[in-house]
């Protein structure tokens, strides 16, 4: 299991809206991941070997994340004009893709949340791990 320190939680956890800071507009580059499998390492957590699982997990409502090239993990709340799905399980089409997104970053309770305004660049699946695991990642 991955260990991710909850750095500075006590310092940033606030109880009143009056103390809330506005989000920061950022560009994040990284791989779209299935947050559950990534954090728990139940299955091959990244790349093409995990593509099918990632789609099913996202379809089931498991939050989708981005493993950033900066080493951080971001939780995706929204994509584009999606305004009805807070959990945003609908970004199936870009699961496992390497993307660059423009988004608002909300850091709250030690978690990095993104509401994505747009996908600036989509390189597709570039993390080809399926040979390593003997997985057929894209079906027959």
């Amino acid at each position: 299991m991955r260990t991710m320190a909850l750095a500075g939680f006590a310092a940033v956890a606030l109880s009143t809206a009056a103390q809330a800071a506005p989000p920061e507009r950022v560009q994040v580059t990284g791989e779209i991941i299935d947050s559950w499998c990534y954090l728990t390492e139940i299955m091959y957590p990244e790349g093409s070997a995990h593509h099918q699982c990632a789609i099913w997990c996202a379809a089931g409502g498991i939050p989708v994340g981005i493993k950033g090239d900066d080493g951080k993990v971001y939780m995706v709340l929204k994509l584009g004009a999606d305004s009805t799905s807070v959990a945003n399980p609908g970004i199936l089409e870009i699961q496992s893709h390497k993307v660059k997104v423009e988004a608002d970053l909300y850091v709250r309770d030690g978690i990095n949340y993104l509401t994505i305004a747009q996908v600036v660049n989509d390189e597709g699946i570039v993390n080809l791990t399926h040979d390593e695991y003997g997985i057929q990642p894209f079906g027959e």
């Binding site: 299991m1 956890a13 109880s15 800071a21 699982c53 309770d109 990095n112």
Partner: protein
């Protein structure tokens, strides 16, 4: 597609079993000046039926915090993970947790009837409150909380596959959204965060 479109049953084809204590998501950058604003707007009035068969509204919970999760009792995937996480969080909070009403709002009213919800929620936590209702009532609640639920296919066992929102909402004593938590969040971390809001 709303909850009403989910007739025929819901089954989640998630692949993971059991409760998982997931450590917190990395936040190792310089802390901003204060936490960011809540990234979503969610919550609002609802009028539903609890697992004891009693009508309840959001106003019945005024003065208490609410941990609200939308899912369904027989979900084999993210729902039990989120709900068990909520249960573990309550246990960690101990007496402090008595100020919180943990709530499961079903997205499967056909299966999650009053008769079925009681035994189901009792298996998860003795204080977990199951809420069901008519499709119209549940659709209204889901809309207020910006919950989406959509049947997207079928398993080989001919069970529907449904994608649905799965974040846990922490509502304040005034019924307004304080924050949300991922369903995979470590209960210790969630409990610490809740203490921060309750203090």
């Amino acid at each position: 597609m709303g909850i009403a479109s989910l007739r025929g049953g819901l089954a989640l084809a998630a692949l993971i079993l059991g409760f998982l204590a997931v450590p917190g998501w990395a936040h190792d950058k310089e802390s901003p000046v204060g936490a960011a604003a809540v990234p979503v707007q969610a919550g609002g009035p609802f009028a539903l039926i609890d697992h004891m068969g009693q009508p309840v509204t959001d106003r019945d919970f005024r003065g208490r915090y609410m941990l609200v999760f939308f899912g369904y009792a027989n979900c084999p995937g993210i729902c039990p993970t989120g709900l068990r996480g909520m249960a573990a969080t309550l246990d960690i909070l101990g007496p402090e947790g008595e100020r919180i009403a943990p709530i499961l709002v079903t997205i499967d009213p056909e299966r999650d009837t009053v008769e079925n919800l009681g035994p189901a929620v009792a298996k998860i936590h003795s204080r977990l409150i199951g809420l069901t209702g008519t499709f119209a009532q549940l659709n209204a609640a889901a809309k207020a909380y910006k919950i989406s639920a959509k049947r997207i296919g079928w398993t080989l066992q001919k069970q529907p596959i449904v994608q649905h929102s799965s974040f846990i909402y922490l509502m304040g004593p005034d019924g307004k959204l304080l924050t949300l938590f991922p369903p995979i969040m470590d209960p210790e971390q969630m409990a610490a965060a809740i203490r921060g809001y309750m203090s």
